[in-house]
């Protein structure tokens, strides 16, 4: 049995948190001028890239990692294949030199060129993958800036954004407006919301237009295609193209592997939101199987496929947009139904003839 006991804490231990409050004091003009005032200080932070320290962000598990067994297998296999390729190239060049020295030199040059090209390609793919990660991280940093309302975090997000878009002529005006106005903002959420309204809304509009166009094309092709296989192929092709176009629009420029990762992210996003967008599916049912199907079965199918493309476009926007939808409303399938209804209107006229 232990006795009850109490121990007095050192008063310093209690007051460890409380820094002694600093005295108010004033300084004359001469002293001021030695000090860069706030705006200049901020410009320095933006130009030098010495950003306030952000807490280490936990890497998001966007791409599922393989188990160690599979990784070992793949790595070993990769090494074997590389070795075989090397051996083959080596043997080929030797044979060429044996046969005819000039041919050997040409072969060597071709091999070197191929090597350089492959290296460059790999580098580009790596950069593209990194950009996708940056977008992911940016989106998370923006959400955090909104939640914590910390102006420094907001500014950090902003300077990353302007780094991402600094070479885009179409956003020059938006960048100027943003740079001018954020001087007067003191809250993380206000800064990020303003960036979203100014910088994202023109991009959002264009992404919507891309999505609507792709959906219309899919609807028309499905409605007039002679074979089911043709329109499935077209839907897949159009979806890939749309996802690529939207990610280039938001500054992602994914390469080959990036596209695969992007497709996975979009598919998983679709799987997750599939249950959520129940209201949208009801609309889809109505439009696809109700109204339009009465007019023509093929047209109904076309609209369903179009709406599917719309959902791919929306998922792509959500996956690659560097800021979360917070100040602006996220697009929904319902927003695009009027666009598709235009196709249906055209179809009605045609079928009436």
């Amino acid at each position: 049995m232990r006795e009850p006991r109490a121990q007095a804490l050192e008063p310093e231990a209690l007051a460890a948190e409380a820094r002694p409050a600093r005295q108010p004091r004033a300084f004359t003009r001469d002293e001021i001028e030695t000090v860069p005032h706030e705006v200049e200080a901020r410009l320095e932070t933006l130009t030098d890239g010495n950003l306030p320290d952000l807490p280490e962000l936990a890497p998001q598990k966007a791409y599922r990692r393989m188990g160690w067994l599979a990784r070992t297998g793949l790595a070993a296999g990769g090494i074997l294949i590389s070795l075989a390729l090397g051996l083959w190239v080596d043997q080929l060049l030797r044979d060429l030199f044996d046969r005819f020295p000039a041919l050997g030199w040409i072969g060597l040059a071709a091999a070197a060129l191929a090597g350089i090209a492959i290296l460059a390609l790999a580098l580009r793919e790596l950069l593209a993958l990194r950009r996708l990660r940056v977008l992911d991280g940016l989106r998370r940093a923006a959400s955090e800036a909104i939640e914590t309302d910390n102006p420094d975090r907001g500014r950090a997000v902003l300077s990353e954004l302007s780094g991402l878009y600094h070479a885009r002529p179409d956003l020059a005006n938006a960048r100027n407006v943003l740079a001018e106005n954020t001087q007067d903002l003191f809250d993380g959420s206000a800064i990020v919301h303003h960036a979203e309204r100014v910088l994202m809304s023109p991009l959002d509009g264009r992404a919507r237009a891309l999505t609507a166009n792709a959906a219309r094309r899919v609807a028309v092709v499905t409605a007039i295609s002679p074979r089911a296989l043709v329109d499935i192929g077209f839907v897949v092709y159009e979806s890939f193209r749309l996802a690529g176009a939207i990610s280039r629009l938001y500054g992602a420029r994914p390469g080959f592997f990036g596209s695969i990762g992007l497709t996975r992210a979009i598919l998983s996003h679709l799987a997750v939101t599939g249950g959520v967008a129940l209201g949208d599916s009801v609309a889809q049912q109505l439009v696809g199987h109700g109204l339009a199907a009465r007019l023509s079965a093929r047209l109904g199918e076309g609209l369903v496929n179009g709406l599917m493309t719309v959902r791919v476009g929306i998922a792509a926007m959500r996956v690659v947009r560097p800021l979360p939808f917070d100040a602006l409303k996220a697009p929904t399938v319902a927003d695009f139904i009027p666009e598709l209804a235009k196709v249906a209107g055209v179809g009605k006229k045609e079928s009436g003839v």
């Binding site: 409380a18 409050a21 600093r22 004091r25 300084f27 001021i32 000090v35 809250d187 309204r197």
Partner: protein
């Protein structure tokens, strides 16, 4: 349940007024914005900055309708109530942006202003009918008068008890002449005008005196004693509190006369003021000069808190719907704003907001109970300072840079109103509770008053750009959702 502060006739009048509003302009709704604040809280500055920024569309990045490009334009309009003077916006702006920038003088009378906002609605009905319009009505008035609102629910005996209790605390200081005057008269004797006048004068002098050093800056009704407006010298302003006389019923006594006059004051001054300007508000911003109270000490902070709570209890808050709005208006959004946030470095705004939230906690809880949405933020309608850092004895201090007003002093230096200084006003306490606690270690804080900003930039169309802190967010909270 407290009884309604106004009569049933007034209620019917208000309901008819609301109906008339709805009938005359069904497509152009009127939003009445109540700018509430005690004297020197910055009501006039806030209204001037709001009107100027809206009219010129300058620098309001956080105001969504403007940033989204849906606000087509704003213009000053004629107010439908022709009896009340117009808010002298141009004059106030002139004094702020003139060659010698000066803050507007304290408000001495009531005035109002109507803005018409033209905007493109975002919903599909709005898209069909083209640009929509709304009116924004704003009233400016002396903050002292706001203190009268709690009187609507107090009888003469109750008010006398409260007022005498407060005076008792400073019996040996400012209130001494008043107590002397009171002991010199006989409240049961027959009333004479000179006796009443002498007592009222002594009482008014006491109120003015106790306001001077800023200690008791709020709980000093009746407000017209401090800022009489056009009622100076009228019988309704000639009264003073007296100790109760139980069992005394002589209608000709001085006590009875003062009681009649108090009732007349409530009926003729307070009730119309409330009915005409506060009973039909839709939105409210409560401006609180937290820094001035912090400058003075825990007494002033507690005093300010009780004044805000008492005043806010008089307003009609709650959520409404379009049908009930036809008859009765309720305030469904209230913004508590700590003004003069430019007297602090932005890293201290969080703490200022925490102190404000603690200060208005009771008022905000009551409002939320009735169904209103509340928010709080630290704002500066016009930003008089810049920010900077200064190194002092190896310590990096976040400072504000500006020109203090003539006569302001820190330590043993008195400023002449021309020198620009960098000021470190002290750390706000991280625990908001500590500013209320009497006798705790005094927080070393000193806020100076600054001159209005000079050398302002101009926008593309030549309008002066008034710098501000969070005015845009305040505006977005207050009227943004009406412009959807």
């Amino acid at each position: 349940m407290p009884k309604s502060p106004i009569t049933i006739t007034d209620e019917i009048g208000i309901a008819l007024g609301n109906l008339a509003d709805a009938a005359t302009s069904p497509l152009t709704p009127t939003l009445r914005l109540g700018v509430t604040g005690l004297s020197r809280a910055g009501k006039t500055i806030f209204i001037t900055a709001l009107v100027h920024n809206l009219l010129n569309g300058t620098r309001l990045p956080g105001f969504a309708p403007l940033t989204e490009g849906r606000l087509i334009g704003v213009r000053l309009d004629e107010h439908e109530d022709h009896a009340v003077p117009r808010f002298a916006y141009e004059q106030h702006l002139g004094s702020l942006t003139g060659p010698e920038p000066a803050w507007p003088e304290s408000t001495r009378r009531i005035s109002q202003l109507r803005l018409t906002l033209k905007y493109q609605s975002r919903n599909w009905i709005g898209g069909l009918v083209g640009p929509s319009q709304m009116h924004l009505d704003i009233v400016d008035y002396p903050g002292e008068w706001l203190l009268d609102l709690p009187l609507l629910n107090l009888s003469y005996a109750q008010w006398s008890r409260e007022a005498l209790e407060r005076a008792e605390r400073v019996k040996d200081a400012e209130a001494r002449p008043f107590f002397e005057a009171m002991s010199a008269i006989d409240a049961t004797a027959e009333a004479t005008e000179p006796a009443a006048e002498a007592l009222a004068t002594a009482f008014a002098a006491y109120l003015r005196e106790s306001r001077k050093d800023g200690r008791a800056l709020s709980t000093l009704p009746p407000g017209r004693f401090l800022m009489p407006g056009d009622l100076e010298g009228s019988p309704a302003l000639t009264f003073a509190p007296l100790p109760p006389l139980p069992g005394h019923t002589d209608r000709r006594s001085l006590h009875a006369m003062l009681e009649r006059r108090y009732e007349a004051y409530r009926r003729l001054v307070v009730r119309p003021f409330f009915r005409d300007h506060f009973a039909r508000l839709d939105r409210q911003i409560v401006l609180v000069d937290t820094l001035r109270a912090l400058n003075v000490g825990p007494d002033a902070v507690a005093d300010l808190e009780s004044a805000i709570t008492a005043v806010m209890a008089c307003f009609r808050q709650g959520s409404g719907n379009p049908v009930s709005r036809l008859l009765s208006r309720r305030i469904d959004r209230i913004l508590f704003a700590a003004t003069k946030a430019d007297h602090l470095h932005h890293t201290s705004h969080d703490r200022l907001q925490a102190i404000l939230e603690r200060m208005v906690a009771r008022a905000a809880r009551r409002s939320r109970y009735h169904g209103a949405r509340t928010a709080s933020m630290a704002i500066a309608a016009i930003r008089a300072t810049r920010e900077g850092t200064i190194e002092d004895k190896g310590e990096k201090l976040p400072c504000i840079v500006g020109t203090p007003q003539a006569g302001e002093h820190l330590g043993n230096i008195t400023y002449d109103g021309k020198t620009e200084i960098a000021l470190f006003p002290g750390d706000l306490p991280g625990d908001p509770e500590s500013v209320f606690q009497e006798g705790s270690v005094p927080v070393p804080l000193h806020f100076l008053r600054f001159n209005p900003p000079g050398g302002l930039s101009r926008s593309g169309d030549g309008a002066v750009v008034l710098p501000h802190i969070r005015l845009d967010r305040a505006l977005d909270f207050l009227i943004g959702d009406w412009l959807k």
